[in-house]
Subunit: 283 residues, 2 copies
């Protein structure tokens, strides 16, 4: 059987790739893309059967760009996985801790390891576009006075050395990823649904929108607001709730929401994701 191809943003060894391998149990081809928009396009055009995108981190919050892209593109959310983010300090072979003057990584990874970085002396944090990209860079430029922060997978992929693992300040550091497809997911038992809607700009509109779920004892998991382009101070609301859009109470709640909302789109119903630790996979 031909393996699924999954598009992700970043270089090989990126956390998105680890999440894809955990979700599909390694039984997958991965297709790196430079930006999130290219991940959406790869799935839309059929180049890749699936896409994977980070949607929120338990420390840093939502990745709002991906909420906007979910609205812009006509794909379905078909799954989720929560990956524990374990950052490692990576160097070229032979580089010792005392040699390090610069530490390269994505600004968010640098921020998540700030306690560790501050514990080192005379070391500067240098932001780059991507965690795995930082590893690639220190390898290609054979940097001897610097290190990168990325996944252990990225160190393995570029045959570099892990000096220290688990250098993040808070170990309860998870990123939730969504799986995208052109087709809806098959019906699942423990489902979560994501919808996006807008309301008239009137008193109580948001409250009424949420009441359609509360009146049916449907548990809300997350609410996120994003500005509506060209309508200053009006918002799209992204709502996650427990249950499948085809379950009778959820279906009735969504029918009810259509009476209140000026627009409503179901972005997907999908099996609730497990929490996973990323392991290093052989290529």
């Amino acid at each position: 059987m031909k393996k699924l191809t999954v598009a992700f943003q970043g270089e090989l060894g990126a956390y998105s790739e680890l999440a894809a391998r955990e979700f599909f149990h390694a039984d997958v081809e991965v297709a790196p893309r430079p930006v999130f928009e290219a991940v959406f396009r790869a799935v839309e055009t059929g180049q890749c059967q699936r896409g994977i995108i980070p949607i929120e981190n338990s420390l840093a919050g939502s990745i709002h760009q991906n909420y906007d892209l979910l609205l812009k593109h006509r794909l379905h959310i078909v799954g989720e996985i929560k990956l524990r983010i374990v950052h490692t300090l990576i160097v070229n072979p032979g580089v010792r801790p005392g040699d390090i003057r610069n530490i390269y990584s994505h600004p968010q990874a640098l921020a998540q390891c700030d306690r560790f970085i501050r514990s080192l002396k005379r070391v500067k944090a240098v932001p780059v576009y991507d965690t795995a990209g930082a590893v690639k860079m220190i390898k290609e430029e054979n940097i001897r006075d610097g290190a990168a922060i990325a996944s252990a997978q990225a160190a393995a992929d570029y045959s570099l050395k892990v000096l220290k693992s688990g250098i993040e300040s808070d170990h309860r550091n998870y990123t939730r990823f969504l799986i995208l497809s052109r087709k809806k997911a098959p019906r699942s038992l423990h489902a979560r649904t994501t919808v996006v809607f807008a309301t008239r700009n009137v008193a109580g509109a948001l409250f009424k929108s949420l009441s359609v779920f509360a009146l049916r004892d449907i548990n809300l998991l997350k609410i996120e607001s994003r500005p509506i382009q060209g309508r200053p101070w009006e918002y799209f609301f992204y709502l996650d709730f427990e249950g499948h859009a085809d379950d009778p109470p959820c279906r009735k709640a969504l029918d009810h929401l259509r009476e209140i909302a000026t627009s409503l789109r179901i972005l997907g119903s999908y099996e609730k994701g497990r929490e996973a630790d990323g392991r290093v996979h052989k290529r």
Copy 2:
């Protein structure tokens, strides 16, 4: 009478400075700071009497870092102003449109002018940390093959030339700024209140929290969620509503919210801000 001193993030000519001058009717000393955290600290320590921070843009959405800083620091929101963002293309004297190969600005300003930039031929957008900082840079390095995107004020401050004004793709482009102080604002007539709260992680908790306002016909203006550090998939909610926290219905709603929430803090009640066009001020 001694003028108020207001801290803002960025270089002279930044949109935050324009907003401060509109809010205080130019009758103010401005104090530039390199990062948002330094703005909060300047007010906390009494170095400056007021601070001004952007909190949301009508196209790009909330500035989440400033929501986190409002929680971290013990300041009061005492005012707001909505500034229309008019981007201008700025060059060194003598530089002609055909000479431009690179356009420097903050990534968000570049994105907001993408239609204009794409209309030029063989021109590259180059992100830098700050809009007014881009103007300073092209002046100091006497760049002849590049331009900056920033406010007309920044062009005036550095005695550079505005080649074109209003180059943003969408003219309904406003940024809402908040004014910070160590003391509460005096009671105002047309007030808006911002609070932050957390709830138990139980079904219907958010709905119940919003109901305390709906049951009293209090209009919600904005809701924003941010992750709680160390408690994955739990959130702080930032809520803006119409009215003053000392108005009897609002006071009762907040008392009611305290029964439901695990924490609640009133960040400030302040007079609703007007929409302003930034004008160029003489130094």
